[in-house]
Subunit: 267 residues, 2 copies
C-alpha cells in the first residue's frame, strides 16, 4: 500500500482517462484489463476469479477495504480525491477503483452444452443497455448470454456498474461470424426466437409453451433498430410481447426483462 | 406564426430555464402547464386532448408542423436554434417544443371503477423511472396508475419523453393521504399486491393465479428503498419476482415491466 501524489505516475497508467470512451474501448480489451468501481463490484469481480492488477483508493476507503488489501498481492495506490479526479477525469465518488484482469471467454459451444435458456444479443452497442440486459437475464434465470461480434463490451465500466456485477455471475461468449454464428446455437438444439414488435409475430408466451420445455434462445436487437432482417431470417420463429393502449414497443431493457421472465418461468 | 429574436421576450416565458428542475417542478403544475418536446410527443399530447398554449419551433420544423400550425389558434414562435438554447438552457435538438395545458386529473375512485389491473406507485421521485413505468404499464395492458402524494410529476418533460407519450394514453390519479389512500383501492375490490425483493414473499405468478381473475393492484416503491413498511402493511399480500444467480433485485423499471406482464397476461 503506497501513497501516490503525482497524477503522471506510471503506476496509475491503468486509471488514466477513464471518461474517454473511445480510448478505453480500445485499450481495455487489448490490454486484458477492465475497471471495477466501488466496493461491491470490486468484491464481486474478485469472487468471480478475476485477478487484481492494482487498486486505487481514497484514504477513507482504506479501512473498509483492509481485508482485500491484506488478501491481495496487487499494489494498492492511496490517492487524494483530487488526484483520483485528475487521473481518471471524473469525480470518483465511490472512492475505490480496481484494475482487474480479464479471463479467457468460454467458447459458445461449451456454454451451450450446459444451458437450457440463453439470450443472444445482436449489435447492442450501448453499455447501459448491455448492463441492464445482463442484470435482468441473470436475475430471471437465463443460463448464458451470447453476443454478436459487434456488441459492446460487458466489462466496460458502465456495463459492469449497471449490471450490478451480474456480468460476473452470468457466463457469456462471443459468436464468431454473424449471422452464421447462430448456426452454432441452432446446432446445439436451441429453438431461436427472434423478438420483434411486429404485430404479425407469434405471441411470445405461446411460442414458449409450444416449445414444451425444449431449449430456447431469445434473440434481441439494439434499441431503436431491433434485430436485422438477416438475423430474423436465421431464427426459427418471430415472437412479440403483446402490446396495449396503442404503444408500439417497450424499451430494450424492459423487453429483455419481460422476455427473460416469460422464458425463465417455464424452465 | 411570428419570428421572435429577443430571448427575454415575455411571449417565451413558458420556455425559460427548462433545465432548472427545481424551478420547473414548482412552476409547471402551479401554472397548469407542461412541456411537450419533439414532433411525436407534441402530436400525442394534442391527440389526448391537451390544449396548446404556444409552440416554439426552429425554422426547419415549420414545414413538418404546418398542419398543426394551421389547426391551432395558439401562437407559434419561430426562433433560431441559438435563441432556443439561450431561452431554455439547453440545445433543443428536437427543434420543436410546445407549452401544453394540463387537464384536471380524474378522481382515483372514477378510474378504479372501470379498471381491472392498476399500478400503485409510492414515492417514485425519479422522472426517468416514472416515465419508464408508464411506458411499460401502458404497453403491457394495465388500466390505470395511482400515485402516492409524493411521487414525481408524470408530465415533467423527462417523464413524458421516457414514457414515449404513454403518460397521455394511460389514465392516472393521485391518491390523497398515504397510506390511507390505499383504502380507496381496496374498497373498490382490488387485491393489493406489494412487490418486494424479500425472499419470504409469495411468488408473484402464484399470487396472480390465486386471485383467479379478480381485480389486482400492483404496488411498487422507488429504486433502492422499495415500498415502505407501512405501505406493505396496508397491502393484502407481499409478492416477489423469483431471482436466480444470486442477484438480489431488478431495477425498478425492469421489475415494473415484469410484474405488469405477469398481471396483464392473465387479465
Amino acid at each position: 500500500m503506497t501513497p501516490v501524489e503525482d497524477p503522471a505516475d506510471p503506476r496509475l497508467a491503468d486509471y488514466a482517462g477513464l471518461t474517454d470512451v473511445a480510448l478505453r474501448r480500445r485499450l481495455e480489451p487489448a490490454g486484458g484489463l477492465f475497471m471495477a468501481e466501488g466496493e461491491k463490484v470490486i468484491r464481486r469481480a474478485l469472487d468471480a476469479g478475476h485477478p487484481m492488477r492494482s487498486m486505487l483508493l481514497t484514504p477513507r476507503w482504506v479501512e473498509t477495504m483492509s481485508d482485500l488489501i491484506t488478501r491481495t498481492e496487487a499494489p494498492v495506490h492511496v490517492v487524494s480525491p483530487e488526484l483520483a479526479e485528475a487521473v481518471t477525469g471524473y469525480h470518483v465518488h465511490r472512492g475505490a477503483l480496481a484494475a482487474m484482469g480479464r479471463l479467457p471467454l468460454p467458447e459458445a459451444g461449451t456454454l451451450l452444452s450446459g444451458a437450457r435458456r440463453v439470450v443472444v444479443l445482436e449489435a447492442v452497442n450501448d453499455h447501459t443497455n448491455i448492463g441492464a440486459v445482463f442484470r435482468s437475464a441473470a436475475a430471471l434465470g437465463m443460463d448464458a448470454v451470447l453476443l454478436s461480434p459487434d456488441c459492446a463490451d460487458p466489462l466496460y465500466r458502465r456495463s459492469v456498474k449497471v449490471s450490478m456485477g451480474a456480468v460476473f455471475s452470468l457466463p457469456y461468449a462471443r459468436l464468431t461470424g454473424w449471422p452464421a454464428g447462430l448456426a452454432t446455437v441452432a446446432d446445439a438444439g436451441f429453438r431461436l426466437l427472434a423478438l420483434t414488435p411486429d404485430p404479425a409475430a407469434a405471441d411470445l408466451a405461446e411460442a414458449v409453451a409450444d416449445a414444451g420445455g425444449g431449449r430456447l434462445a431469445l434473440m434481441l436487437g439494439a434499441e431503436g433498430d431491433g434485430l436485422t432482417e438477416r438475423a430474423m431470417r436465421a431464427s426459427h420463429e418471430r415472437v412479440r410481447i403483446p402490446m396495449a393502449h396503442g404503444i408500439d414497443s417497450l424499451n430494450v431493457a424492459a423487453a429483455a426483462a419481460v422476455a427473460c421472465y416469460a422464458l425463465g418461468s417455464t424452465a
